[in-house]
Structures are given as structure tokens and as C-alpha cells.
Amino acid sequence: MNPGGKVYVSGYQEDSIRSKAIILARAIRRFGIARLAAVAMVLMLWGAGAAASAAVAQRTVDQVTRYTSIGNDRVILLIPDDICPSEETQQLLLHTATESLRYAEDFFGSRLSHPVVHLWLNAVDKPGSVTPPDGGIRAGDLQGDRRERSSPPNAE
């Protein structure tokens, strides 16, 4: 998926991702599925990993930021195995996510260099649930892609 995407994940961000995954799971249990769209969000910056970082580091480095380019190409929406949000809820979640990203981009005047792919993690086969809507991709469909990565994700 999106082979051109480059992602830089720091240790700090990884810790943050883990904690957000836990927070999300707790929030869903606490507030219920009806409020999933309001609270459910796990971000994971995911991509080519350390190899890409090393490759990019050899290019011309910005004097201020020290980085030449950066891209974030995947956002994981973690849906715990034990809940089954409806298709409507998922559509609302994806819509809210898209709107939120647009707001953040407009607010800071910065655009992501790649379209974000929303991965539906734990998108298991349950009747009538967790079928990623248009614009979302079942994380399980990326198993082959995962094996090619140089560093494993930490949000699972």
C-alpha cells in the first residue's frame, strides 16, 4: 500500500501510540459504541521505517528542522475485537477522521504529502460489522506488506 510513503516513528511517538490504544479501548468500554465516533482514535504513523530514515538522512538537510522530507501515510483506527460497530458508525468515524485531518491541515497550513490510508485494525469477520467503509482498509489485508517492513508496528 502506498509504497511511496515515508514515515518516521520516534520512540516517544510509539509510547504515545501504545497509550492511546489503551485509552481508546477503555473509552469504548466506558462510553459504548454509540459514542465510538467521538472517542475512538488511535494514530499510528506507519511505513518504511528505519531504512527510509537512514536513506533520507543522507539528503540535503534543512538547517532548522534537520529533516529533508517526511510523510505520514497511514492512520490506524483500532477497533477492539470485542465490539462490533455498525457500518453506519464506521462511516461516521471515517467521516469525522477525514474532517479532523482537514481541520488540522488548514489550521497549521501544512498538507500531508500523501493521502492517508485508514486501516481498520482488528477488522475481523463478524456478521454485519467491521467491514471497512470506502476509504478504509482492513489491516489484515496488509500482512504481506507488514512482513516487508524493517520494524514492526507497536500498536497491536
Binding site: G11, K20, V64, I70
Partner: protein
Amino acid sequence: MVHEYSHLVHALHARATYPALAEGFASLAPEYARRDGLKRAGELREATADDADDADDAQEDQWVLPPHITAASALEAGILPPIRQVLTLVHSRQSWNQWMLYSVPTSLLGFIDEEYGRPTLTDIFRHCPENPGPIGQAADIGSAHKELFGTFERYTGVPLDELEAQWHRRLAEMNIDSSSVAAVKLLKDLDRTEMTSLIWALGTGGKKLDPNFLQTFAELQADIVRFGSLSVSAATPDSDTTADGARLTEESLSERIDHLVEWARELWRKAYE
């Protein structure tokens, strides 16, 4: 969600910048998103020329960046850290530190946005220096911090001390409720539970913190925030009552902190049994 996506957008420019900046920027955008939502819903109006004739009414209706309330309350309470400390705040399990991390840098950045304009804010957003992290030579960290402070001076065009003075003047002009000032003091007092050390001490004996203690801690913290109207999400019409309907007062909250501190001491003893 705007908070998390702001982190995503910020990562375009800084791989691992200072936590205070990362959380400050990520917390600022959602506040404006909420304001825009209120405007769209017709629950918020822009200030008009007539408001100048009735300052009290204007202040009630006019939107104020919520993190300014925490910062202004902390300033009045005498517990607002100096600007250099604010910019280098890090994550911790200490209640007051965590609350500050997500609100005080946000207030500073919001002030820059209001006073110097969005282009200045986004310049700083794009040029946040990388955080050298806790490991390293003190001289290197000192140099990195100078780079951090220099970023603010370069884009605002004023020395950091002057920026701090301007920010404090703005905060001091706010009409802050006494309950907000009391709430920030209570949040700081909550740190007497020494949660971080307690978890570590329990961990050395293979024990975990009692989940009931954690839940009580979280509920108390939420009640303090609600009592002081420190958060928009917590500022409900029933902001002076607990979830059970009991009335919130500074005294009752203080007593609950004392009880929690006693409970923590008991857990300390059990940690080494």
C-alpha cells in the same frame, strides 16, 4: 480527533519535538475546532462594538481559549512555571504536571496566535527543533534548549523574557473565577499521592497498583477540573456537583485528597510487606 491528526501533521516538520510543543500545538487546534463548532451551532457570537459599553456581558459571551483559564489561574495562584520551564515540560504521572503539559504551553501558543497572528504560529510549528531527549551531555541539552528558545525569539521577534511578560500581562487581565484558582492548587496538591513513586515501589515487589485507587484518583481529578471549569468538556451546567450529585467545594475536594494520600501511604506500606 483533531488533536491526534495535529500530531500527524506536525510530524511532517518535526520527528520528535519537545513534548510541550507537540502537545501544545495538538491541543490548540481542537480548541479552535470546538469554538468553530459552537459558532456554527449559533451558541457563540463574535464580540461587537456594543460590547465595549457592557464589558461584563461581553466577557460572559465572548469565547476564551480554555487553556488560558488554567494558565491564568496558575499565575494568580503563584504556581505558573517560568516560560523556559513551560517549554521543556515532559510527560509524567504527576497530576499537575500532566494537566500543565496539555494546557499551559497551549495557552502560550494561543497567545502567540492571538497577538502575533497565525503565520507566526505556523512558522514556529514548522520549525520546532528536535528534542535531544533525556540521554545526553548536559552541555548538549543546554545547547538544544537554547535552540528551542531561539526559535520563539526568531519568529516572534522579541526576547523570550519579553514574550513571557506579554503573555503574563494578558493572563493577568482575565477575570478568573476563584474556583479556578482553587482548582489548580488542588490539582497540584493531588501530587501528594506520589503516584509515580508508588507504582515503581509496587513494581519492585511484583505488585500492581490497586485499580480502585486509580479509579478514585481519576474521579477526584475529574471533579477538581469540573469544579474549576478548567476544561470545556468538564464545564457542564452541573459543574458544582459530583457524578453522584454531591456538591463540590474546595473543602470537600481537599478532604478527598487527604483521604487519597492516606490510602497511598497504606499502599506504600503494603508494597514492602
